[in-house]
Amino acid sequence: MKSIVYTGKIIKAVLLGLCAIITISPLLFLLSGSFMDQLEISKLIGPVTKGTEGMADWHWIPHYPTMQNMIELLLDSPEFYQMFWNSVKITVIILVGQLIFGMPSAWGLARYEFPGKKQIYFIYIILMMLPFQVTMLSEYLVLDKIKLLDSHGAIILPGIFSTFSVFLMYRFFAAIPQEVLEAARMDGANEWQIFCRIGVPLGYAGIVSAMVLQFLECWNQIERPMAFLKTKGLWPLSLYLPEISMEKAGFAMCAALMALLPALFVFLYGQDYLEQGITATMKEKR
């Protein structure tokens, strides 16, 4: 009996460990590759990138660590900076816009009754679930009409009105007990004050988790910029990375690493909120 329990534990550890290694290894891959010089990395992966004999190989610690890639990227690649700031600009404006437009929407849907509310809520859920391919043509038509194609507005405006964050914040706002609001109303607070002084602080976790999830979404988005941005100078970082040729694998890995760092920081900072946010898509909190 004891040995069965023991084998069970081993199987469990192996499976969990294996999953952890697989999920985290791409990060380690990028990290080690970033600090390899051109010679070392082409020796390892030459069979893939240059068609040399044999099969690609890898080691996790560079034998001749170098800052060469990092320096080239940070000092000698103006495109990288430009696209990095494009990404920052797009992401930040979308998030701020969602706070300005999405947050009150979520509050209104969660705390008030009015005709058509159920229908609006249902429409928001559908919109949140639609993949980009379904709305691509309609977005294109409207952006074409208001002459926003091939500008950052084409990415930012549809992003601001994404209904996903409304839905998430709705879940948290709806969980605030009604008595708290009633008490504030008794004290003579108006509806706007109730929203600012009670709704926002008590729904804080929902707001942050929506922002964290949306940050990751915006920072990594590919489909929309690819469809609506023709001018390369406007591209976000996520479109720039695949442009770097495999010949410069070390440099490419370094760029990839730098691109994911902001997302990783947000991820680490917002981890608990992230989990709450994911869980909130599961069940209605009332």
Binding site: C19, G108, T135
Partner: protein, 276 residues
Amino acid sequence: MKSKKGILFILPGLTGVMVFYLIPFVDVIVRSFRQINGKFCGFANYRQVMENKAFALAAGNTVHFVVVCLPLLLGLSLVVAAMLRRSGNVAKFCKSTYLIPLAVPAAAVVLLWRLIFDSHGIWNRLLTLLGYNSVDFMNTNGAFSVLVFSYIWKNLGYTVVLWSAGLSAIPEEIYEAAWVDGAGKLRAFISITVPNLKQTAFTIVVISFLNSFKVFREAYLVAGNYPQESIYMLQHLFNNWFRDLSMDKMAAAAVLLFLVILIFVYILHRSWEEEH
């Protein structure tokens, strides 16, 4: 509270949603019944889409992908979530680790997928070391398995977190009662855990299905507009029609895909409502 004030909170956001999503989508529905020159043509566009060979291939592949991936992802993540239950700090650490792929841009990993799954890549090195023949993943049906791997890699953590939420909603006392009655762990899993997770499972299926549309990123970045046939998905088709400005076909296909997703969302919504 019964009040029209709620509308004021929603109005600014709702206006944006109408302008950028709702009104243009109605326009697309109208266009799906017209030719490019604007002449009404009934269901001709729909017929054209249904008879289109590329559409059949893409729809078939998409269904194939979903049918293969969902059971794999759901099964694996449920086993992992069940193992993590009652594991305290280990669980917290594992969940965080598994969630990392959410933060990694698709563009950053495609480079790695290329290095790993190339015919002379790292995975093939391992295969040949173990005495197997090397596989040219990207130019054979192996491309499909690369995409499946990529999807599971990306979504494992997300799904584990969802399952864990479902698991933690099952009261501990039921298990204790079962153990007192002499039920083993496996028995408890089959007779308590599984039946109590129906609702959770349902939500996860819908969410995972919708997330599966995002693998297009990896597929596109690894293999471009016309990838190996087994991973030519609906998303590629939409993208190619978009580039050719085939508005008529695109409109009809968008409405069709919309209807399929509408059905899924409606069922999900109903099951949420049933909870109370």
